[in-house]
């Protein structure tokens, strides 16, 4: 099915996420995040061979899973690990400033990069979300955070209303971005980490301006700025040098396809997005 000269949205997103990883750092992916799991392996396979890759749920270091599984805490994901951490050590590494990057998502993402995976409904609980795992702690402690979401597009319902995933303010702040609900900055709060420096979505990539506000930095080749505006619950500045996102090479997508033969990562994508395809770099 995959056209050998094309790549899918999932593959392109994985590449965008992988690009945010520096070589020589210690990075962690949580559970329930196959796009990120694959992105870490892709980064280590390509530009970041010295990455200390810590797998979510198993805390295996530099594993070589034969294939991606539908759940994270599976021995498959742990095969070939060079060594293992435990839950305490992993979070201590973040709290002591040794974790370089973490990846977080949310049912709601606000303009300052705060995330909500706890509950919808402010006064009254409307929908109980699964919870954020260790995201709250890591959002404060880790040096840098990449936010990702594969469901930015908020298609109008029957009444023409859009339920935004990128919102002005989260109903509940599970993990912190650049400004708390009370308007405090990270430096005022004394967090160890620098906070999110990018949001990768299926429409574009944001960075954050000096005030800590999300700013559109790049677009997918098949997306216009206007589309992003329509699907975002807050106004945002656009970088003067707004670019088109780079696309992965054939070798990269082959790596991804070999690692994820069950296409677990596509479960993060809405069915209508799975049809998008892009030329290889």
């Amino acid at each position: 099915m995959p056209n050998p000269n094309q790549c899918s949205l999932g593959e392109v997103m994985i590449y965008q996420i992988a690009r945010t990883l520096e070589d020589g750092i210690l990075a962690f992916h949580g559970f329930g995040s196959p796009l990120v799991q694959i992105a870490l392996h892709l980064a280590k396979h390509t530009h970041a061979p010295r990455l200390v890759l810590v797998a979510g749920a198993t805390y295996g270091v530099n594993p070589g899973p034969p294939f991606l599984t539908p759940t994270s805490n599976d021995w498959v994901m742990d095969r070939g690990a060079e060594c293992h951490l435990d839950i305490g050590e992993l979070f201590d590494l973040a709290a002591s400033g040794r974790m370089g990057r973490m990846f977080l998502s949310g049912l709601q993402i606000d303009r300052f990069g705060n995330l909500n995976v706890t509950r919808l409904g402010r006064e009254r609980l409307q929908i109980k979300l699964p919870g954020g795992g260790g995201g709250c702690n890591l959002s404060c402690d880790v040096a840098h955070v990449t936010i990702w979401i594969a469901a930015h597009r908020a298609s109008p319902d029957a009444k023409g209303r859009r339920r935004f995933r990128l919102v002005a303010d989260c109903d509940f702040i599970t993990s912190v971005g650049h400004r708390t609900a009370e308007g405090k900055s990270r430096s005022e709060m004394g967090y160890r980490g620098q906070g999110p420096d990018g949001i990768v979505t299926e429409l574009g990539v944001f960075d954050f301006d000096e005030s800590g506000h999300a700013r559109l930095a790049a677009l997918y080749p098949d997306v216009e700025v206007e589309t992003v505006r329509e699907n975002t619950g807050f106004g945002f500045p656009v970088r003067k040098d707004l670019s088109t996102i780079p696309l992965p090479t054939r070798e990269m997508v082959e790596f991804i396809r070999a690692l994820d033969p069950l296409k677990i990562h596509e479960r993060e994508l809405k069915p209508e997005e799975r049809a998008r395809s892009f030329p290889l770099a």
Partner: protein, 309 residues
């Protein structure tokens, strides 16, 4: 009261007696994580004995917490995640119970939990940490306090010790004395064992103490009040190297749980209350055919992958 130590020579008992160690209203922590090494047989027995009003705390959980919520045994949840990941999505019974207000939502975060357990383990009233301040968890947890650090002048968060009444753990191996050997990621089990007033455990196999010592003891015996040998005690979650995650059974669970509370009662009737014992349960899930399928991961990557296709 100081936590006890347990020094009986033979702590082996049946699942019924094991679960009688849990009392209504207890703060319970559950070993394993997500789809791996959850003490499911013990939890099913908890459902049969209908020991309710439980307060749960934990990090990343799924079917274990969802089952207890679906059986109406949970009064409060301080878990950091309850769901079925990208595999099936949100936890249906958990959601229903939280949204109906029958389960009090007291969500926690992994490191917060770690620090609270560490406080209990070290006999301290609290542990300091830097994170969490500035998030919604502060309003949800009025028991969190802040202090100004006398060394640096910065604001720190204090989280109180969490001393669960009972930790329920499933391990691959144990001995009659109560020593446990866990293979693969221990998740928070070791912290749970040390912080709790007592540990009750199910194991795939009970070994002679010498053999267990050779494998290595993950949790020393004196934390463990009682244990039962319950093969396939983690099903439908994985307990490698014995068996992989039963995705097929979990799909059935998820379908019924998602459909409605009534449909889920059907699940409970078929697989929990309708099975007097683990033997009956293993028959209900398909007997040797199912168990053979779950052991097939050992045949190689292709067979392993086929379990999840």
């Amino acid at each position: 009261m100081n936590p006890a130590i347990y020094t009986q020579t033979d702590k082996c008992c049946g699942l019924t007696s094991l679960i009688a160690h849990v009392r209504p209203g207890d703060c319970v922590v559950i070993g394993g994580g997500l789809s791996s090494r959850e003490p499911m047989a013990a939890l099913r027995e908890l459902v049969r004995q209908a020991i309710g009003n439980l307060k749960l705390a934990g990090s990343a959980h799924g079917i274990d917490v969802d089952l207890l919520c679906g059986a109406g045994l949970v009064a409060e949840s301080a878990e950091s995640y309850v769901g079925f990941e990208q595999d099936f999505g949100m936890a249906p019974n958990y959601r229903r119970a939280c949204e109906a207000g029958t389960v009090a939502v007291r969500d926690s975060c992994c490191y917060t939990l770690v620090q609270q357990l560490r406080a209990a383990i070290a006999g301290l009233p609290f542990m300091p940490m830097r994170s969490v301040r500035g998030t919604g968890f502060m309003a949800m947890h009025p028991e969190y306090k802040t202090m100004i650090c006398p060394y640096t002048g910065e604001e720190l968060l204090l989280v109180p010790a969490l001393k669960p009444d009972v930790a329920i753990i499933h391990a691959q191996y144990g001995d009659a004395h109560g020593n446990l050997h866990i293979e693969g990621p221990p998740v928070a089990d070791i912290l749970f064992a040390k912080a709790s007033k007592k540990v009750i455990a199910t194991v795939e196999q009970i070994l002679p103490t010498g053999q267990l010592a050779e494998k290595g003891v993950t949790i020393p015996y004196f934390y463990i009040a009682a244990l039962s040998e319950v093969p396939y005690g983690a099903h439908p979650t994985a307990c490698y190297p014995f068996y992989a995650y039963d995705r097929r059974h979990t799909a059935e669970y998820y379908r019924l749980a998602s459909e409605s509370a009534e449909a889920f009662n059907g699940y409970l009737q078929t697989y929990v209350c309708g099975c007097e014992s683990q033997t009956g349960y293993l028959e209900a899930i398909g007997g040797v055919k199912t168990l053979g399928r779950l052991a097939s991961w050992r045949q190689g990557v292709e067979a392993w992958q086929a379990l999840y296709a």
